[in-house]
């Protein structure tokens, strides 16, 4: 790769990273796995003056159960999420999501925090974080704050994160009854459309459904119309299929590119919403006593 010149520093702690970022003014940029940033630097679409490497800050990686919730450090690589026993047992949807990302090289380097901060419209995690009602933990010069995933993803590559802030972790309440389904773009393996569905099922009835959608729009969103249609419905495959079949219909400004036109993407939202819902439902039946 032949990027323009840059300085490189390795941060030892979150405070150290923030201090280094501040010291660089606007010229500094955090790098975690580098799997979104470095491709841009290769093309010289991004030319940071200094990279501050946060990949090896101990406090930033790891998957921990905490007060009934689960917290994943921002610098945790996709492979660790995909293969975590804790996640596979308690919240398989997120391990499943991580396992669909790119290829082994990408999964061994790319991080949850980097993916979320970068917010590529076709990235996988955002759909699942939305369906899990996850919280993004952020630290900056002014201290720490927490943003709901729903408020965090705002537009194309645009999130609620300032240039001098750092994502430290993602936190959510685990559920087994959730699943992710994705239509792969065959070159990059990003999502042409990806839907994560989480169901609260009680006595054969869907109490609440949460669906996160990625790939179809400028940024990941919740499919609230489908969620509303599902609430209170019987938890059957046919029932969820009917409610989700036209999940794409109400969407405006659907993405179109050489891999998929807007009509097709819109139709795929319905298809993959159904697939995610059916898989989530199957999990609810597995875990029912």
């Amino acid at each position: 790769m032949i990027p323009s010149a840059f300085d490189y520093e390795r941060a030892t702690s979150v405070d150290d990273a923030l201090a280094r970022l501040a010291a660089r003014g606007g010229a500094g940029k955090l790098i975690a796995g580098g799997h979104s940033l470095v491709p841009l630097m290769k093309l010289r679409l991004n030319e940071p003056g200094a990279l501050i490497d946060i990949a090896r800050i101990p406090e930033l990686s790891g998957i921990r159960g905490q007060d009934g919730g689960i917290e994943i450090g921002a610098a945790t690589v996709h492979h660790a999420v995909a293969t975590s026993d804790l996640l596979r047992a308690r919240c398989p949807v997120i391990a499943e999501t991580a396992a669909t990302i790119g290829d082994p090289q990408v999964r061994n380097r790319g991080t949850l925090g980097g993916s979320v901060a970068h917010a590529d419209p076709a990235s996988d995690y955002p759909a699942t974080l939305l369906a899990l009602d996850a919280e993004i933990r952020i630290q900056g010069p002014g201290g720490t704050r927490t943003v709901a995933a729903r408020d965090f993803f705002q537009d194309l590559f645009t999130v609620d994160l300032a240039g001098d802030e750092l994502i430290t972790a993602v936190r959510f309440t685990p559920t087994r009854t959730a699943a992710y389904a994705k239509l792969y773009q065959r070159a990059s393996r990003f999502a042409i459309v990806g839907v994560a569905a989480a169901l609260d099922v009680d006595g054969g009835t869907i109490r609440r459904a949460r669906l996160g959608l990625t790939g179809a729009l400028s940024h990941a969103v919740r499919l609230t119309a489908v969620e509303d249609a599902l609430a209170g419905r019987p938890a059957t495959a046919d029932g969820v299929a009917a409610a989700a079949a036209r999940a794409g219909d109400g969407l405006n400004d659907v993405n179109a590119d050489i891999h998929a036109g807007a009509d097709y993407r819109r139709a795929m939202v319905g298809v993959f919403a159904q697939r995610a819902l059916k898989a989530a439902l199957a999990r609810s039946q597995e875990s029912a006593p």
Partner: protein
């Protein structure tokens, strides 16, 4: 106890000797070449598809740290002539660096020489070019109208080649065309199927992009050029020519080459520029292509439209065929560009005894990267058009596609067979390959499975394709470079064998296959044989590796050189052993008298004697080193049958390849393991073309598939377990009986997959689908107008 006899190696699955060094990172590629004082070049490339250069401002670039020189195209034109073209068709002037008009995104407009690669790239970015942009044209059928733009002033309607007819009734000089037979065939036909088909544009994407290091040494007045090329000898010729040097003054080296797929046959502008700047500046100079450049500036492949008409009787006998070809050659003719689609015409007879064929070829300039040879180069296109046409005919007649083929095959007893297209097929047994493939696939059972799946609502389909390809390229009448190959075999003084070959392998495994041949010829262990290649300072003469010619032509030259040395060595051994040459056997590292193995000498002893021949046998010169040229009298024509089973996802249109059964006949096989490797790679690329690969441009000529994020190539996990088998029909063209196999996999796989997809979706009334089989395309067929 006698030592165990060395086993014969030809025909054995010997593991590639090249691989341990390659997979351990111990190979030396062009970019690994380092020379004291090495400078680096970077090219400024056009970011518009078509425009006149108003001005180029290089001041900022020249002022940057580490920058030694900046040259615009106009400055380079003062000392570098336009690039040579290797085909007889008229071609527009093509300068290595554009002087006034740019015609595709990626065309070089200036070059920087700097102390380091990064400095060179920074400076290239700092060059400011002001373009007067012109309309671009990317669709060849639009370009043919001459609107909205004319790309080269002397080529009306953008026609690189206006119209070349070929086939039945065309005189050898192409000047007179008699359509009577073709017209009669169509008049007599019960059915005619007609279809426009697009064989889309592909990017060759070798793992190693291009690269070149040139080192002109002023004191000796010599040039050494390292390049990631398939043909160092041709490179030497052209580099000498454009630098006004003799071939004796230029040494071209192709070190490890990380794939070529035809794209590294061409001699590129960057090679000429780097060589001439090295000479001008008296400095060693390197340029390494990055992946973005590779997508823009390395040639593309295919991109040809075929209008096919097949005329047949009700019972499936093909009476006539028409194939009108429109090739989009991109912005310029490269070395072989214009010739590639002529191979499509040449192979229009396919495996069938078709009595009347008319092909025509039109080549068109567009504002896209130039095309040239890509694995298969013209023959996959012919196979695709004809096999899809045959499939459509079978469907129209309601006939089993295998049965339709069988009714039209050139019978095995008709070889050598002169086609309507001017080729003489050397040998073949097409029915045998078909039968083997049908048996291996379990064709009837597959049909039952398909029908059962359909009854469940699944969209499963079967496809079958035959192919025949022209390989072993030669003789000299058909290649402007010469159609022979050269080899030299030397028995060293210690009894080891070193051999040079003009074939320049870049992944084909010739260090192994060629060593197998020599080890057998001399009865020595494989480890005692070394194959040298890819360096004109070591390999006296050569043409190179393309057109699946290494084994058939290069291997034969090696065999002939080996035979000469063996004869001479036998004479030395005969003198030493006081025996008759005819009674000697070369076996087990020894040369001994037949029937008396103890009365022999070791190979090394005989070699030592040949170099210190006291006494010198009468009529012999010292030494054991012989060379041979081999010019084949004809090409070879390998063939085969590929069968696939696919399933389309009704909801998404995604295509899954469930089975791929291939039977390939490449004549005698030196190493079946390597042959299978070649087939695997070819299949992957053919499957890639059918399913996921396509170079796309916007209407403004901007490339839309400029990286692997948008241009898909198959991953191992995308491919099923290939089910391979071989029939063996040796060629009479060379003493080895070997035909060539490097490209074969790309031929049968594409049409058989497309035909399978059409079969799967036949319920929706579709009879043809253009590649690539993008899920959205298939989904639209399934869901009709539904949005």
């Amino acid at each position: 106890m006698a030592a165990p006899v060395l086993p014969k190696l030809v025909g054995q699955r010997v593991k590639r000797r090249e691989d341990p060094r390659l997979i351990q990172g111990l190979g030396t590629y062009v970019d690994d070449v380092k020379i004291v004082g090495l400078r680096h070049a970077a090219f400024k490339r056009s970011d518009v598809a078509h425009g006149r250069i108003r001005s180029i401002d290089t001041a900022a670039a020249e002022a940057m740290d580490g920058v030694e020189a900046v040259f615009t195209g106009a400055q380079i034109a003062e000392f570098l002539d336009p690039m040579p073209i290797g085909t007889p068709f008229p071609s527009p002037e093509h300068r290595a660096v554009a002087t006034d008009v740019v015609r595709y995104v990626g065309e070089p407009v200036a070059v920087v020489v700097a102390a380091g690669r990064y400095a060179a790239r920074d400076a290239a970015d700092a060059i400011v070019v002001d373009y007067d942009t012109r309309p671009a044209v990317v669709d060849p059928e639009v370009a043919m109208t001459g609107h909205p733009t004319v790309i080269h002033a002397d080529f009306d309607n953008n026609l690189a080649v206006p119209l070349v007819p070929s086939g039945t009734g065309v005189s050898p000089d192409g000047k007179t065309v008699d359509d009577t037979a073709v017209d009669r065939a169509f008049a007599d036909a019960d059915v005619v199927v007609s279809q426009r088909m697009v064989n889309q544009r592909l990017a060759p994407t070798a793992m190693e992009p291009r690269g070149v290091v040139a080192h002109y040494e002023r004191g000796k007045d010599t040039m050494t050029i390292w390049s990631s090329t398939q043909n160092p000898h041709i490179l030497r010729t052209f580099i000498a020519l454009l630098n006004g040097m003799g071939e004796d003054q230029v040494r071209a080296i192709a070190p490890e080459v990380g794939g070529g797929f035809g794209a590294k046959i061409n001699i590129y502008g960057e090679e000429y520029v780097v060589a001439s700047l090295s000479r001008r500046l008296g400095l060693p100079l390197k340029w390494t292509e990055d992946r973005s450049e590779a997508f823009l500036a390395t040639i593309h492949g295919r991109d040809i439209i075929g209008y096919i008409d097949v005329a047949a009787t009700r019972d499936g006998k093909v009476l006539g065929l028409k194939l009108r070809l429109i090739a989009d050659v991109g912005a310029y003719n490269m070395l072989l560009t214009a010739a590639i689609p002529t191979l499509t015409m040449l192979m229009a007879n396919a495996t069938y005894d078709i009595p009347a064929i008319r092909t025509t070829l039109t080549e068109v300039f567009t504002n896209k990267t130039p095309t040239d040879a890509y694995r298969g180069a013209g023959r996959p296109e012919a196979t695709y058009f004809v096999e899809r046409g045959m499939d459509m005919l079978a469907r129209r007649l309601g006939m089993d596609p295998a049965e339709l083929r069988r009714r039209n095959f050139i019978p095995a007893d008709r070889f050598p067979y002169a086609t309507q297209m001017g080729a003489v097929y050397d040998s073949g047994d097409y029915a045998k390959a078909l039968d083997r493939a049908l048996a291996n696939a379990g064709w009837r059972e597959l049909q039952r499975q398909r029908d059962a799946a359909r009854a469940e609502g699944r969209l499963v389909g079967l496809g079958l394709a035959m192919y025949v390809e022209v390989c072993g390229l030669g003789p000299s009448a058909s290649l402007p470079t010469g159609g022979w190959e050269h080899a030299q075999v030397t028995i060293e003084r210690d009894g080891r064998i070193s051999a040079t070959t003009g074939a320049s392998p870049h992944g084909q495994g010739n260090e192994t296959t060629f060593a197998q041949m020599l080890a057998d010829q001399f009865g020595v262990p494989l480890e005692h044989v070394r194959i040298l290649h890819g360096d004109t300072g070591v390999v006296k003469q050569g043409i190179g590796t393309f057109g699946s010619r290494s084994q058939a032509v290069g291997g034969t030259a090696l065999h002939l050189a080996g035979t000469k040395v063996r004869e001479k060595m036998a004479k030395f051994a005969a003198a030493l052993l006081e025996a008759h040459e005819e009674d000697l056997v070369f076996e087990d590292g020894r040369i001994s008298v037949q029937g008396a193995p103890d009365a022999g000498k070791t190979f090394a002893e005989v070699a030592a004697y040949a170099y210190v021949p006291v006494p010198l046998p009468a009529g012999l010169d010292p030494g054991l080193s012989e060379e041979a040229f081999f010019e084949p009298a004809n090409n070879t024509y390998p063939f085969g049958c590929h069968i696939s089973m696919v399933e389309v996802d009704r909801d998404t249109g995604e295509l899954a390849l469930l089975r791929l059964v291939a039977v390939d006949d490449a004549g005698n096989l030196i190493n079946p393991l390597i042959v299978e490797g070649q087939i695997h790679g070819g299949l992957a690329q053919g499957i890639g073309q059918a399913m996921i690969e396509e170079v796309r441009y916007g209407a403004d000529g901007q490339p839309l598939t400029g990286s692997f994020m948008d241009y898909a190539i198959p991953r191992a996990a995308d491919l099923p377990r290939f089910e391979l088998d071989a029939t063996v029909t040796p060629t009479p063209v060379n003493p080895l009986g070997a035909k060539g196999v490097g490209e074969a996999g790309t031929l049968g796989s594409t049409p058989c997959i497309v035909s399978a997809a059409v079969d799967a979706l036949s319920g929706f009334g579709v009879t043809h689908i253009d590649m690539m089989l993008r899920p959205e395309k298939l989904w639209r067929i399934i869901h009709g107008g539904q949005a």
